[in-house]
Symmetry: C2
Subunit: 241 residues, 2 copies
DNA sequence: CAGTGGTCTAGACCACCTC
DNA sequence: AGGTGGTCTAGACCACTGA
C-alpha cells in the first residue's frame, strides 16, 4: 500500500471521544475526569492508550494531570492559566497587581472584518467591549473586544465590572465558552485620540498593537480583540522553544 | 518518605546522556542518530525508555523524528527551522522572498548590559553586527546583534555577506554554536535616526522592537539581538496554545 | 491505607522508507 | 526484504495524595 490517508491511531480516536465529552459539558472546567483505569474500561482499550491520549491533551493545555490526585479539565480559573494569555512583564521586578476597568459594553452589528474573523454573517448582532487594564494603578493596556451576541447574550457593563478573576474565566463560568488557544498578530502603531485618552498618554506615542483571535473547541473563533499596549516599563514576553 | 527531591526517572537520565553526545559533537546537526534499538543496547535500558527520552527531546526541537528513516539532530539548515525564529508574516498573501544585507561587523568591548546578558566580563571582546533584512526588496527589519568574540573569533562582514542560509545556520556550521531557544521581549518604540535611515522611513515612526537573547545547550546565552521591525504591511505572529 | 498518575519492561504488530 | 519509527497491549512496580 503506497498511502493510507485515513489511518487514525486508536489513541487519537480516544482523544476525540474525550474531546466530545469536554465539548458536551459532561466534564466541565475544573472537574476531575475519570481515572485512567476507568477510562480504559469505558472505552475498551488498554491503559497505555488512554495515557497517550491524555498526554497529548495535557500538552495542549486541555487537561491538567496531578500526580496522586487525578486528571482535571483545564480552567481559566486556574491562576496559572491567566498568564498564559497575558504575556506582559515589567522591565524591573515583578508585575505589580492589576485591575480591570471596563469602560463600555455596547451592542452593534458585525461589519465585514468582524464577520469574516468570527465566522458570522455581516450585520449579525455583536457585543463591543472596551476596557483598560491598569498595573500598579497606571493604565497600560486598552482593549477593544468583539464578541458574537449569540454566545454572550446578556453580557453587560455591570457583569464585566463584577468580573472576579479574568475575562476568560467569566466567559467560561457564565457562558460555557472556553477559550483554548489564540492567534496573535503584533505590530507597532501610533496612539490615536481614543487610545491616548484611555491610556493617559500623548497622541502619537508608539503603542504595541496585539490583535488576537481566540478559539474554542473545534477551532471555532469566538473572540476578536485589539489590545493597545503602552510599553513604557513593560514588555510582551515570548519564548521561542 | 515525605519527599525525594533527587528522584530522576531513567528516561531523563538517558535524555542527559543523549544531550551530552549532542553537546560533545558526537552527533552533529543534520546527522542521523542511532536507532532506538541500538540506543537501548548502548544504554542498557528498554526501547520504551529510549523512546520516551527521544519523544521529549523531539518536543523541544532538539531532535527530529522521521518515520521509516530514523531520528536526526535538528539543524538550522532545515528550512522549517528558519521560520521558528523569524515570526514575520505579511498582512496580505505570502511573505515575499527575503534578502539579508549586512551593514557592518565591528569589534568592541562588552558594556555592562551586554556583559550581564551574555554572562561575560565587562570589557570582554565582542562582535557587533548590524544588518537589514529586506522583503520583496523593501527593508523591514534592522538588527543589532551582539556576540562574544570568543565563540565567533574570525567573524567578518565578508563572511556574513557570503552567508547562504540563515545567520543561525552560519553559526551552527562555521562555529559549532547551535541556538536551541530564545527569550524575546517585545515593545513599541519610535524610530531614531539610525533606524529611520536603515529602514528608509521617517524618524519617529512607530517600530516593533524585538529584543532577543538566544541560548545554546545548557542554557548558555550566546547572542543578544535588538531587532527593529517596520510593521507596515507585516506583523509578528504568535500562537498561544 | 487505597487510589491516582508516573515509570519501566517485553513483546507483537503496523506504517513508512529505502534498497 | 529489512530497517526505521509508531502503535498497542499487559503487567509490575514507584511516587504522590488524602483520608
Amino acid at each position: 500500500m503506497v498511502y493510507s490517508p485515513a489511518f487514525n491511531p486508536l489513541y487519537r480516536q480516544i482523544r476525540g471521544l474525550i474531546l466530545r465529552s469536554l465539548e458536551s459539558g459532561e466534564w466541565r472546567p475544573g472537574d476531575i475526569i475519570p481515572s485512567e483505569s476507568e477510562l480504559s474500561l469505558r472505552f475498551g482499550v488498554s491503559q497505555g492508550t488512554i495515557r497517550k491520549a491524555i498526554d497529548e491533551m495535557a500538552a495542549e493545555n486541555l487537561l491538567v494531570r496531578r500526580q496522586g490526585k487525578g486528571t482535571f479539565v483545564a480552567s481559566h480559573n486556574d491562576p496559572n492559566a491567566f498568564f498564559r494569555f497575558l504575556r506582559l512583564s515589567a522591565d524591573e521586578g515583578e508585575l505589580p497587581p492589576h485591575e480591570n476597568a471596563p469602560l463600555e459594553c455596547g451592542r452593534a452589528k458585525a461589519g465585514a472584518d468582524v464577520a469574516r474573523i468570527l465566522g458570522i454573517e455581516v450585520g449579525a448582532p455583536i457585543h463591543v467591549v472596551r476596557r483598560v487594564m491598569k498595573f500598579g494603578g497606571v493604565p497600560i493596556v486598552f482593549d477593544e473586544i468583539y464578541l458574537s451576541s449569540v454566545l454572550f447574550p446578556d453580557l453587560t457593563l455591570d457583569i464585566l465590572k463584577g468580573e472576579v478573576h479574568s475575562l476568560y474565566s467569566l466567559f467560561e463560568s457564565r457562558y460555557g465558552v472556553r477559550m483554548i488557544r489564540a492567534d496573535e498578530r503584533l505590530s507597532a502603531v501610533s496612539a490615536d485620540k481614543l487610545c491616548a485618552r484611555s491610556l493617559e498618554i500623548e497622541e502619537g506615542m508608539p503603542l504595541l498593537l496585539v490583535e488576537r483571535v481566540s478559539y474554542t473547541y473545534g477551532d471555532r473563533p469566538v473572540e476578536w480583540r485589539r489590545g493597545f499596549y503602552s510599553t513604557r516599563g513593560y514588555y510582551y514576553h515570548n519564548e521561542i522553544g
